[in-house]
Symmetry: none
Subunit: 402 residues, 2 copies
């Protein structure tokens, strides 16, 4: 599909704005979903003149993580392009990954006489673990010519990046977790699962005792368990595929990191939706495509806070007129997945979407909600098909065939 | 897709009940379909609080047989997993097939001087043909170490099973029908279409004259024509795929046989919907997944008996409260295909489905019918995606990606 699209691309001066309300989809509590309960006059009016529908990020019944959710919004098949857990962890900690990197999720653990007694080092506080991680970085800078980067994380968690001088072949990160997932066992040995992975395995086998030497006298965090070895994927660039110069506007590092994987510009940014919109305005002339990420809606969903999620939706609705004032040629408002507060987690439910452009039917849905979007002209579709539709509405796709 | 699902399975104690109303979908006669004409207060109320939709068993426009219809309900791609006609015939006659079996549909025919004069042996009555088949079984028990099983059928039809000591390689049943499909011709010779099929062909070449020796003096049924040579497929087991201990509740042998192919438990059962529900209750604690098959709705559809189909739907509606009283975590009510009485046959029309769980939107459809399900949150989807959705609603699928 991406191949087909690539061959049909034509450039013009249109502006496309994709607003991702993270985890927007919900489920009814007392008969109304979060979107239905929220007072959203601006979103509702916009929905009534937009193309509406619902999209399925991965497949029916599949609950997507943030990686697959966003990749499919950007038009990448999320089953073909799987982003490893180590990569996402490192991105979330603000590491700017390169194509030559291997990223690993690491836990501090407690080991006594070679046996794991606590896989999370007593949930050591973040400020304590940060100090240990900084000490590691001070003492370990490289192994066999491979740069080693330690990224401090929350509590017992951190990330390790191996930065090789050159990109490694696919399969280089296929190494089993060393975490046996149970206390009372010794850590597992470093086991490569493919011949290509021996290079990374060798570095790992040297790295683990180096770390141990430094932390062995810590009270709790005296060992480290490694999981989710993963490689930066050799994924096509967004601009190369679509001819769109793209800007990511996100305050959470992981989403910027995801955008950078496909070579969107993603400068660091702090603040709330207002700061994001100001940043959008400031950069509006310099890009074709804007990915604006709104995080807090999902966070309240994950906390099971229905009313909190509702109020964050209303906050976005309040800010919407300022976005509309920019008058982008194509405006899409949707989410990367559903996060019903009733479930306190991401879920498999299709995600409401509205697409505003001059070339839609409209007048199918009276509000921006799951049930109203169900009546819309886009139906229920796979998320990966959104980008071609967006490009078409921007006049950026030529006819296929004569 | 099944690979993706398999990697995401997690177990819990939920109960899932899949009710298959065989051939439920219909077409309007005097403006109402069978489901619309039927008085179904219980189904309608359930639909109003369930996720509703329509599913397509194989592909748009394709009319499924019972095999593909059920396989896709169980999450198996019905184009990838094709069950041979010999297999279905043998299953329908109540034979418990093994992985080492080759099954063949057989006709009694009339042959004079080597020429077929009647391909159906004058539609010999079932009790007469049963006697002949039993005589065959008495005299032929094995050929070259391969057990031969004869299964009596209706009128001129029966089935032959070759039970090999070990499973045969794929392609072993690729043998042309010996039935020339026309009278006035001699029977066709036994022709293997692949090198792997020579083993079965050799047995067949010895079997045909053995049969002829025994029946050659019968008045009409003095020869046999063989069709639909097929091999028990090496299909993944339902429990291995989904981690669900599954019970098939069906009174017709073919459906139990289909369930046994994927290693569901499928004990013999007689009676009507009440007996099926009693059986469900009795076994409710011992399984995770229940496939409850209701046959008669389809039979009336095939007979072109609109009112009969309506009354069987109403009979099920009457029994529904007893099913609901079990309070399964996920309840699905649907069909394996449509059988409009207007067509007197299976058809290609999408099949209405409702899915009851705590994690649905609901409130989209006022009744369980083709047109009301069209308004539902599930949209129109491929049947093979039902199982992932069911597993998700049962909390039995982990998140995909981080």
């Amino acid at each position: 599909m991406q191949k087909l699209i690539e061959g049909l691309i034509q450039k013009n001066n249109t502006k496309i704005l994709l607003v991702v309300l993270d985890g927007i989809g919900g489920l009814p509590v007392n008969s109304k979903t979060e979107l239905e309960a929220a007072n959203t006059p601006n979103l509702d009016e916009l929905a009534s003149t937009s193309a509406c529908g619902l999209h399925i990020p991965v497949a029916m019944g599949i609950t997507p993580g943030s990686g697959p959710g966003h990749l499919s919004l950007f038009g990448y098949d999320p089953v073909e392009w799987q982003i490893g857990r180590g990569i996402l962890e490192a991105l979330g900690l603000g590491i700017e990954l390169r194509k030559t990197d291997i990223a690993i999720r690491a836990n501090y653990a407690t080991v006594e006489s070679g046996i794991i007694t606590d896989r999370r080092a007593g949930r050591i506080p973040s400020d304590e673990s940060r100090k240990i991680t900084e000490k590691l970085q001070k003492k370990i800078k490289e192994i066999d010519g491979v740069e080693i980067i330690f990224a401090p994380g929350m509590e017992y968690r951190f990330a390790i990046i191996m930065r090789f001088p050159n990109p490694l072949p696919p399969g280089s990160a296929s190494i089993k977790d060393t975490d046996p997932q149970k206390v009372g066992n010794p850590p597992l040995s470093v086991t490569p699962e493919t011949p290509q992975a021996t290079k990374v395995a060798k570095i790992t086998v040297k790295l683990i005792p180096e770390i141990f030497k430094i932390i062995k006298n810590e009270e709790k965090a005296n060992y480290t368990l490694l999981r989710g070895f993963s490689q930066v994927p050799d994924i096509p660039h967004f601009e190369a595929l679509y001819g769109l110069k793209a800007l990511c506007i996100a305050v959470y590092p992981m989403y910027r990191g995801l955008a950078r994987l496909i070579e969107m510009d993603a400068p660091a940014l702090k603040g709330d939706i207002k700061d994001e919109i100001n940043f959008l305005k400031k950069n509006y002339n310099d890009y074709d495509f804007f990915f604006l990420h709104v995080k807090k809606i999902d966070s309240y969903g994950e906390d099971g806070n229905f009313q909190g999620k509702v109020s964050k939706i209303e906050e976005f609705d309040n800010a919407l007129p300022e976005i509309l004032a920019l008058n982008p040629d194509v405006l899409i408002i949707t989410g990367d997945h559903s996060t019903p507060s009733a479930l306190r987690a991401h879920s498999w439910h299709p995600v409401p979407v509205l697409l505003k452009s001059p070339y839609v039917l409209g007048n199918t849905s009276r509000a921006f909600s799951e049930r109203e979007c169900l009546k819309g002209e886009l139906g229920i579709f796979h998320t990966v098909n959104l980008m071609p539709l967006v490009l078409a509405n921007a006049g950026r796709l030529k006819k296929f065939g004569a």
